[in-house]
Subunit: 407 residues, 2 copies
Amino acid sequence: MKKPLAFDIHTKGPGLARAGVIRTPHGDIATPAFIAVGTKAAVRGLTVDMLRDIGVEAVLANTYHLYMQPGEALVRTMGGLHEMMGWKGPTMTDSGGFQVFSLGAGYGTNVSKILKDMTVRPLLKERDEEATKPRLVEIDHDGAAFKSPLDGIIHYITPERSIEIQHAIGADIIFAFDECTSPSESKAYQREALDRTHRWGKRSLEYHLSRPESERQALFGIVQGGRYEDLRKESATAIGAMDFDGFGIGGSFDKQDLHTAVRWVNEVLPEGKPRHLLGIGEPEDLFLGVENGCDTFDCVAPTRLGRHGTLYTKDGKIHISNTKYSADISPLDPDCDCYACRNYTRAYIAHLYKSREMLGPMLCSIHNLYFIVNLVKNMRQALTDGTFLSYKKEFLGRYQAGKDDLK
Amino acid sequence: MKKPLAFDIHTKGPGLARAGVIRTPHGDIATPAFIAVGTKAAVRGLTVDMLRDIGVEAVLANTYHLYMQPGEALVRTMGGLHEMMGWKGPTMTDSGGFQVFSLGAGYGTNVSKILKDMTVRPLLKERDEEATKPRLVEIDHDGAAFKSPLDGIIHYITPERSIEIQHAIGADIIFAFDECTSPSESKAYQREALDRTHRWGKRSLEYHLSRPESERQALFGIVQGGRYEDLRKESATAIGAMDFDGFGIGGSFDKQDLHTAVRWVNEVLPEGKPRHLLGIGEPEDLFLGVENGCDTFDCVAPTRLGRHGTLYTKDGKIHISNTKYSADISPLDPDCDCYACRNYTRAYIAHLYKSREMLGPMLCSIHNLYFIVNLVKNMRQALTDGTFLSYKKEFLGRYQAGKDDLK
């Protein structure tokens, strides 16, 4: 059978790091790479031309959101994800697992808060008495039932249904259905959830391979296991042994767990297949992810922070509403070549932000996405040049010493 | 003294129509032309690159809004309007009169409602007993005092102050301070207000000519007079006799008054200077304005309607949230070559609109602005080709017969 994806590694090290190329039916992704998140088949506030100008190589859309609105049948009517959103490059969809389970922690709460406070769990019968908040998700052996926050209708997603939806959406790379657990879960629950994730991974793969779409779309299995070394390694072994085209590393990571969890996993996963670290995008974490063997990353942080006026600079994050920028006619980041920095001043963007002009979030999103996408491109170049560790030291030294407005 | 503006007419007729070129220090405007409104030094949701791609030739910003935020001193710090917003082409600022007086009708109400219901008047002492709603504006001989809706501070704008602010902002074409009255005003009040407008026009001009900026910036006088033929002609005679570089035609027009009021004025104004019809942008009105001798137009309608999902098509206006577009994979307007129509379907834009994705208003604003800007360009071409009346008949016949969702 024709493979929908190829992966070539051309540089290895330091650590588990590698630089390479993922080849998809819609073009190549030079790895390591940061993938832009286009939740509902649109990267917030940016046209696809802007994405290309920024240097974005691939876009990840969220299956859950597209399933809810407009529904996968309409995505198919519009010619699938690429055609629908006018993006000609590679695409991914996640499995919907993260969003389904985050409903249990309160829909509408922002993700970083969910990651901190994910204390209400997806439920099993025996856990009912523990739940203290209204829950929107019920899990059983076969899948997850959840109530739509849009219309209150109950939906039930199984591994087969997740893959079926992702086939209809038509991204180049799709993900197996998994259960994403909170770091605050007990080990007993993580163990139980991990068994489900492995079962669901196997079912996702079997269903995928039984359909003609498997020649056009690549399926990545998802490794879970929380903060536990034994569970992470067991998960990497189990998922790594299945015939996936690549892997996703999932979970809600505590900052300090991230690199150890990722290293445990990537020491076990087969070397020749690409590894995507789900939902990670802060500069420090991207360096750790790359050094510990991840090839691609996605995160809403650059555009979400940008919409709210928080901007990455080489000297740390700044918040554009800070009074000191009102008359500052320097660019957002003097070392940046993005469209916003080439054409506008901090003072103008501060004015747009205070005036609630849409152009403000647009320019800030362009800047932040450019910053992160090109940070990972620079890591790739440093890997190729053999200067990764010195680049990391130099970048993070300046970034972390910077005058971060948010400290 | 060097003139900051030149105007060449190369085609005349039918009626009072003319096609020509306005030459400014920042480039030419081929007239008739529709000028995009960038209220706070930004056209809502569009970058200046998008404006250029659309074919926009000039941008009009609102003095009142920039005076309030960020203040004209900061605009000057940022290098003036062009430098601040990165727009290299011609610019205009209005005088602030319209916004100041519309405060009297309730800040925050939308303009079309204000135009309909503008029953609370700017006040003179003797009119106090008539006022029934809270008023934010007081007028006297020298100017208008108003309370800022941002911080409650009282501001007082005289003709000299309006020109001083517009000098600091630095647009190529600026406007004299005037009093914009509602069509529902009594003739006695219109008469009184008109005398003020003429006095203020003269003072605006004298102050302008006394400053070095008059070599770089052109000043347009504003003709008022409501729906009254004698007042309109008197105003055109008085303002037309002053040494302005061009003219604005102001007022809140009833639909049926527009073309007569404009014709009365343009039959009197000196032929060799450009005429800007303030705040007008619907297709029917643009044809009337062009045919009756106006050269430029501005209006927030294309972007405001776009942000709210109402779209111009050659077959009338459509509203993108209408259920019938959910699975419609044709472009917004099959005859349109704008970025949105070349790349996206109605179904996708309906999805963006329902999902409250920023890209929805962005694409709809691009489409509407392209539609109106190019409609006026087509009128110009038709004037040059001698086919204006048949173009008007053809366009409006189809447009008005169209399946307007809003009828």
